[in-house]
């Protein structure tokens, strides 16, 4: 057969042309007459257990975790319908996120989704649920997951106005994440200051400066100034001796 060498359309018998055109018109009319597909939101199902998924991954749990992460991320945007995050079942969402981390413990993506996507809904209970999840996961690998807990500390302090909970998170970072950035490890000092616990903040800040952990000259200067202002505030709040 010689590809490209074609005879003219006139060589096609008329009945064949007629059947072709008629079938094509009927096909188009049939399809045009059909109702358009309509979108239907589907509920997020519970994830399989990590052990089951690991078996199904055929030796590629990280690749499977990545695929499932994208599936979960896209769940709010099913074909033809966009589901607000607040309408998702958050117990299932946290189960999914936990499963994804079990499959790929080094991944940061599930924690990013927890803090930056699912914790951004205007619903305090859901925000607390996500921050609680991040707090639990933090303790399993503090040096790699501290930044997400730090985000939660700032969020609960400024958005939920729960300074005590923010302090818990900040203290967890200081105690657990030895390799966290200084700003995160110093966060508890400023939260204590906000709580009015000036003395505790002054002691911690003084201890931090004395330990030599902070080496950056400008940072040392800033913290020293901060310590001085705390000490001044501490003196002014003492009762006067007559």
């Amino acid at each position: 057969m010689k590809p490209g060498a074609e005879r003219s359309i006139g060589t096609v018998p008329r009945p064949v042309l007629f059947v072709f055109v008629a079938a094509l018109c009927l096909q188009i009319a049939w399809q045009a007459w059909q109702p358009r597909p309509s979108a239907r939101a589907e509920a997020l199902g519970a994830p399989a257990s990590p052990a089951t998924l690991r078996a199904l991954a055929l030796g590629e749990p990280i690749a499977l975790a990545q695929l499932l992460t994208l599936y979960l991320q896209a769940f709010d945007n099913q074909p033809g319908v966009s589901i607000p995050f607040r309408d998702l079942d958050y117990a299932r969402v946290t189960a999914w996120l936990g499963t994804l981390i079990e499959l790929d413990p080094a991944a940061q993506y599930p924690l990013l989704m927890a803090t930056q996507l699912y914790a951004q809904v205007p619903d305090e209970a859901r925000q607390r649920l996500m921050c609680g999840f991040v707090h639990d996961q933090f303790w399993r690998d503090p040096d790699r997951r501290w930044r997400w807990l730090a985000h939660c500390a700032i969020m609960v302090k400024h958005r939920l106005r729960d300074t005590r909970l923010a302090l818990d998170y900040a203290e967890a970072i200081t105690r657990g994440a030895r390799r966290a950035s200084n700003w995160a490890r110093q966060m508890r000092i400023f939260i204590l200051e906000d709580l009015g616990e000036i003395e505790a903040a002054r002691v911690l800040l003084g201890g931090l400066l004395a330990s030599g952990e902070v080496t950056e000259e400008k940072e040392v200067h800033f913290l020293t100034e901060r310590l001085k202002s705390l000490e001044a505030a501490g003196k002014s709040s003492l009762p006067a001796n007559n």
Binding site: P13, V16, Q27, I28, Q31, P37, N77
Partner: protein, 256 residues
């Protein structure tokens, strides 16, 4: 049916028998059946449901793969062996050749569908199995008709196989593509989105939405009813006629 068309159809069937196609279908069927029993044995609950779902969906995909590849390879071999040249030298209209081959392949598709459905008689109600079988037979008929069209038009095995695969994947995902295109998260008013949306809707006029066909749900949840499956069968028949006419159109224009 013209005796020459019937003869070509019979020869196509005999060729399938002699190239071990029935053995391949049987081995695939037994392998999937064995795997489905394994799945049933490890399931804690709904073992029958899992077994039926796994077997039916696996057999559907396997049937499509086997039928399409068989048609592509069979016609390619006929091109390469020059058997087609000999046939066309005889007093045989080209349309008869296409119709004869298509009739043979449609019979093969129906036999694959019936063979695939036999084990399901033990797992699902008769009405559901009948609907599933009829739907699979028509789905396979569309696939073999499209494979014949692709290989006659493109002549080469690799491009034709890619074309068939692309067609099938598109047909199975077309509804989802239309839904996503109709309700985008952003950029609905941009020119590019409107052009693509128009192209997708145009494509939907000429490509069947196979995601609604041969559903496992009919077997595990209950029959869909002939009022739902009947139109699919009618549409399938129309689509096979369209593909046959397109194949003949292309075949008449070929120079040998």
């Amino acid at each position: 049916m013209d005796s020459r068309i019937a003869t070509i159809a019979r020869c196509t069937l005999i060729e399938a028998m002699r190239t071990r196609l029935p053995a391949l279908v049987l081995v695939t069927l037994l392998a999937l059946l064995a795997a489905s029993f394994f799945i049933e044995s490890i399931a804690v609950v709904e073992g029958d449901r899992l077994q039926t779902g796994f077997y039916a969906s696996g057999m559907r995909l396997s049937g499509v793969f086997i039928a399409a590849i068989y048609v592509l390879v069979s016609v390619t071999r006929e091109f390469n062996d020059k058997g087609l040249d000999v046939l066309l030298a005889l007093d045989l209209p080209r349309s008869h050749y296409v119709l004869g081959k298509l009739a043979g392949y449609l019979a093969i598709a129906a036999l694959i569908a019936v063979a695939a459905a036999l084990p399901l008689l033990w797992f699902a109600p008769l009405a559901a199995v009948a609907q599933w079988t009829a739907s699979l037979a028509v789905e396979l008929a569309i696939v073999v008709a499209f494979a014949l069209f692709a290989i006659v038009t493109l002549n080469q095995l690799t491009p034709a196989a890619s074309f068939v695969l692309a067609f099938y994947l598109l047909a199975r995902s077309l509804t989802a593509v239309r839904l996503m295109g109709a309700h985008p998260l952003a950029g609905a008013d941009t020119l590019s989105h409107q052009v693509i949306g128009f192209m997708v809707e145009t494509l939907a006029l000429v490509v069947p939405a196979l995601d609604a066909w041969t559903q496992t749900a009919w077997l595990v949840n209950g029959p869909a009813g002939w009022s739902a499956t009947g139109p699919l069968l009618g549409f399938g028949a129309l689509y096979v006629v369209l593909l046959a006419a397109a194949t003949m159109f292309d075949f008449y224009r070929k120079n040998f």
